[in-house]
Symmetry: C2
Subunit: 253 residues, 2 copies
């Protein structure tokens, strides 16, 4: 894990890093409250499709977790995103995204599910690297909605170091790759907060409810709000904070 730059401001140390994994260079960012080192709770932040490791929603959550809870956070660029994308960045409106999702062939959907499953390995490698170089050994939480759930759910389902997770804006139904997500959910036994939008253009209500139902966790809470895929109310960030504050206990030392 190589540090590629550091900025300190507003009480937070933000360190850019990269590491190599299965022939890929994976770039990421680590946020820590200024002055903290060694053991700390840490939340892994998985960005959504078309976004990147320092997209506004990720950056804002990392800063809140540092300022309000004194937690560290880490984000990495998903395959084909951020510094790993080919071609120019694009902003895709929900309607256009829905069109693309609807136009996906079963082969394309299965390929996306496979890519997400592969990306899960990059999160495990990120944890390995952080444990080696930063003296951080958990507890670890995971947060990621939409593609952040598509990648994060297979990862969390097979990663015992993560002990609480926020997912959302995802579902299981008749799409290819969906059985894999449902199977991953059934394997999850840690506390889960599942955020859902009642009028999501990309995910049918019954598919969101089916994913909530599939989680194997004894503690699993679903929050439903009106509005589309990108219209989650800002107050759900307070709920995310409260969820991690309840579950990620500060380690001794």
């Amino acid at each position: 894990m190589r540090s590629t730059g550091q900025v300190v401001g507003k009480g937070i140390v933000e360190t850019a890093f990269e590491f190599d994994h299965v022939g890929e260079r994976v770039p990421g960012i680590l946020w820590r409250p200024d002055g903290s080192s060694g053991p700390t709770p840490m939340v892994l932040l998985g960005h959504g499709g078309t976004q990147h490791k320092r997209t506004p929603g990720v950056l804002s959550l990392a800063r809140r977790l540092a300022r309000h809870l004194d937690y560290a956070s880490v984000a990495i660029d998903a395959p084909g995103h951020g510094d790993r994308r080919e071609g120019p960045e694009e902003r895709v409106a929900p309607a256009e995204m829905r069109r693309r999702v609807a136009a996906m062939t079963p082969e394309q959907a299965a390929a996306a599910a496979t890519r997400n499953a592969g990306a899960a390995g990059e999160w495990a490698a990120t944890l390995d690297a952080i444990e080696r170089t930063d003296g951080v050994h958990g507890p670890f939480g995971y947060w990621g909605v939409s593609m952040g759930t598509g990648i994060g759910l297979p990862f969390v389902s097979s990663e015992p170091r993560v002990t609480a997770a926020v997912f959302g804006l995802a579902g299981v139904g008749n799409r290819a790759g969906s059985e894999r997500l449902a199977e991953a959910a059934q394997k999850v036994a840690i506390p889960v907060l599942f955020l859902f939008q009642w009028d999501d253009e990309l995910i049918a209500r019954e598919h969101g409810l089916a994913l909530y139902d599939a989680f194997g966790s004894a503690e699993k809470t679903m929050h439903i709000n009106p509005g589309g895929h990108i219209e989650m109310p800002a107050f759900e960030r307070d709920a995310v904070e409260a969820f991690f504050a309840r579950h990620l206990r500060r380690p001794a030392g």
Copy 2:
């Protein structure tokens, strides 16, 4: 509104009161942080079936609102409950309650809905009395699940002084009286937090989702947790507090 007793302890003044309304004596309790008087946000607490104005869940919420948010609260005994019941108090297990609900005739269900609608008038009279005697003029919130929603939803839908409400453990479907609840929900335009149990023995999932869907509010959030009617997780009280803290702004003065 007659005060019938007062106890002060642990930073809270608890005042018992009663007033007359349509030939009925309605007993209640008012909680205020010790040392506070005059303008304050206030939450109306509607207890569930077989419970009463000082049932543990109500008392605990009143104390939390006073200690954590410096808010006042008020509860009244619903018709046939607490000091207004005939015969001995009974504890009814969910399975037995389900049996009774299933055994209700359409006439009995309609009579219960009519009684709930009448009880809504007692809440309006409570607000009138408090505004006259306690110098409290809002903002007012309402909290009540199960029967507390059966009574509180018709009340809130026709009461402009209440500006935020928590409902739950209720649904609309094929039961008599259910259309009335759905119509009341459609008239509600204030922020709503709707708490639901995924394995509720008394309310089918689709009926709970239908009630959430029916609310006319632009801001409405549904929280779903696993477990039966009386198994709502304790952490939902934090969510209730956060909801009221967001919506009931402290009045000047």
